[in-house]
Symmetry: C2
Subunit: 221 residues, 2 copies
Amino acid sequence: MYQYEHPHPALTTDVVIFTIRDKQLKLLLIMRAGEPYKGKWALPGGFVQQDEDLEAGARRELAEETGIAGVYLEQLYTFGAVDRDPRERVITVAYYALIPSDKIVLQAATDAEAVGWFSLDELPELAFDHQGIVDMAHERLVAKLDYSTIAFQFMPEEFTLSELQDVYEIILREEMDRRNFRKWVLALEQIEETGEERREGAHRPAKLYRVIHPGKVEIIK
Amino acid sequence: MYQYEHPHPALTTDVVIFTIRDKQLKLLLIMRAGEPYKGKWALPGGFVQQDEDLEAGARRELAEETGIAGVYLEQLYTFGAVDRDPRERVITVAYYALIPSDKIVLQAATDAEAVGWFSLDELPELAFDHQGIVDMAHERLVAKLDYSTIAFQFMPEEFTLSELQDVYEIILREEMDRRNFRKWVLALEQIEETGEERREGAHRPAKLYRVIHPGKVEIIK
DNA sequence: TGACTTTGTGTAAATACTACACTAAGTTGT
DNA sequence: ACAACTTAGTGTAGTATTTACACAAAGTCA
């Protein structure tokens, strides 16, 4: 047992894990195995350990659920409404992560929990205040596309400009002019040609590009 | 005594309180009366009560230290490094507040603590990781000037365009062209003439303006 | 009433953004 | 082998936005 003179809240991290799959922006949910909200879908997350920094806790949750590490992770917001958990006062520090589509290798139901990728359009009812967390993460992501290179975090090591444009169009839900998009993205000087090209399908092969500073998200104009 | 099965961290809020005074961006610090860091300057803040939301806790601290309420307050970031407090694990949810210069009425040393306004250029050594919190708040404020109407939160009910321009110049540390600034700020359609003018000093009087939606920070272009 | 100080105002040049259509280079089928 | 098909790759002209810049207006004060 742990004793304190004053009441202390419990502390968790929750992670909104985004990826792009099947031309849709998706996020990872797990089905709760225990009470409360048993059987409801929820964000992956859990208690922060006493000797672990907040981001480390979030990365641990992320690794446990998806088996991957080294991806983009950013603190989103801290949710602490008094009644957000029916058991006791629980503060959650929410993070969001972006995963390149080629890195998705789901741990096969780690803790005997169901795990699934859901399109943002078709989310099931979520446990706790997780819908609010998802909404805020989504807003942040859309906003960051406008003033940073965050979208590059969705790309595998090598990609074509059309694939990159697809990512922008999927997240922003608007079509972009191909020529203008290319001019714009190349002017950022954040990606470079690999020299290789991808040849697939009955059409002209596309040049492959790579991110010059992978893992770094630059603020742009 | 409060008992838990698992270890729980302590939870505090800290508030970076900005204002503009003497043509400088200043923030409020209090001198710590007890250990640790006794005698060091620190951000106002304190423990979140069990029945109080996070923002409510921050507003309470703000009211206790400055005697004012109803000002702009925004969550900044949550700091939770394992060793940020030498006593026990303490998570702090940091907020920042903007106070119009005319509202500054410092409580005369509420808890027998020294209180003072410090220019960002001349901060004393701060307790805990508070310098890092201040740096992040400052960055956020500067960034928000570019894409929101947050600067209006520094203005009193009535103000002149020159005074508003001063606020921008002080925070961004760059001079702006008067004509371009006026065109730009009026095009936002977020302020309107009061019809009155301010006559002070040996020169042409200036028209007074007011914010159309006080308290609301709009995202711009 | 002249000197002084800050307020208030327009225009032209440069820059950035937008819209738009055809050729290039492969694959596949006949 | 060549015609049909599909996606990749490219430039320019018009429009909108941003920037640079200087002088008259309206007070106070000696």
